[in-house]
Amino acid sequence: MSEESTTASRSYLTPFNMIAGIIIVLGLIVTVLRFTKGLATVTNLSDYNPWGIWIGFDLMVGVSLAAGGYVTSAAVYLFGMKKYHSAVRPAILTGFLGYALVVLALHYDVGRPWRLPYPFLVQQGTTSLLFEVAACVALYLTVLFLEFSPAALEWLGLKKIRQWIVRFTLVLTIFGVVLSTLHQSSLGALFLIAPSKLHPLWYSSYLPVYFFITSIIAGLSMVIFEGTLAHRYFAHKMDPVHLEEKDQVALGFGKAAALVLAGYFIIKVIGISAGNHWHLLGTGYGIWYLVELLGFVGLPCFLYALGVREKNLVLIRWTAVLTVIGVVLNRLNISLIAFNWHLPSSERYFPHWMEIVISAFIVTIGLVAYRFIVSRMPIFYEHPDYKESH
């Protein structure tokens, strides 16, 4: 074997590639099982628990964490905060991949992928919240694809199509914000139908508002978190403008997140008061609720504010991690942990290991696709042919 080929083969055998490869192979095997043997073979879903982690984690968490796209593009293109422009493309890419993977995960839960267009073409359930979520996610995925496409078209050298799409940036941004407002809140509204199943501390008629506000918090925190990881692993791909603006993005988004978290904390407390659920705070579920409220809403709110005041970027970045975990916890609490809380433990849901494999498989596909795209397309830098064209 020549020395050159040895070096090439060695470079592909990185820890990331090996772990990703194993997860993808396992995921493909479970995918075959899921679509040939059905849900019962690979999941612990039942009539009591029809939604497992493919909905609770892949969809609920996926959609909220992909909110960075609409939050960042709204800040830059609608509110004119041009100093955050370098954060737009990475945020749009994360949003686009996030929504694409949400749709992929939905196929595993729903099955029969060829029937995906049925709600639009065959049988419109226009009075259903699920129809609204499906319509918004389908439209928003298209919007994100169009918003992301200039980077791909610059890479491919298709200047005319790229110039044509860029003209619609503002319209696409407005459309994206409208669609996100609708479906982020509707995901929370899905649980309004189950007041007897969801624990009273988490159940509220304000659930749609809670979901929408937490999506803003998740979006802001994910931009900071993703920016930190990108700077660590792809700093060589970043141009001076991106490197210069990254601290400003963390400070600005951290400040916004602190304020939104403070508002969210207040309306959560108001929610307890409006339902008069104070007495439930002393129960086991109540303590778990306080962990979520104080540890993953109140604490990050204070830490963000402290980080912004003292311009402590390390603190802001760690707080972003804490906040992202908090949003994940909130979605899991509502869809799984506090759902069916009154059932005996023998009837409670715990994911089958193959469900976890599929969730890991989907996240891994996202990471691999992200790495493929940022290694090739102008995400962290301005393409030399299109400088000053924004």
Binding site: K255, A262, I266, I270, G275, N276, A305, R309, K311
Partner: protein, 45 residues
């Protein structure tokens, strides 16, 4: 029997009373938090 609500009216009067007090505290709190958050901005200018 203390703490039990016999009518919706009693429940609403009690919960709204508490909520209104909390709202006043929240408005004061968010103002203080805003000052805490933006204190450094003035010095920068």
């Amino acid at each position: 029997m203390e703490g039990m609500f016999l009518t919706l009216h009693e429940f609403m009067v009690y919960t709204k009373g508490i909520t209104y007090i909390l709202m006043v505290l929240a408005l004061l709190g968010i103002t203080g938090f805003w000052l805490f958050l933006t204190e450094g901005d003035e010095a920068e200018k």
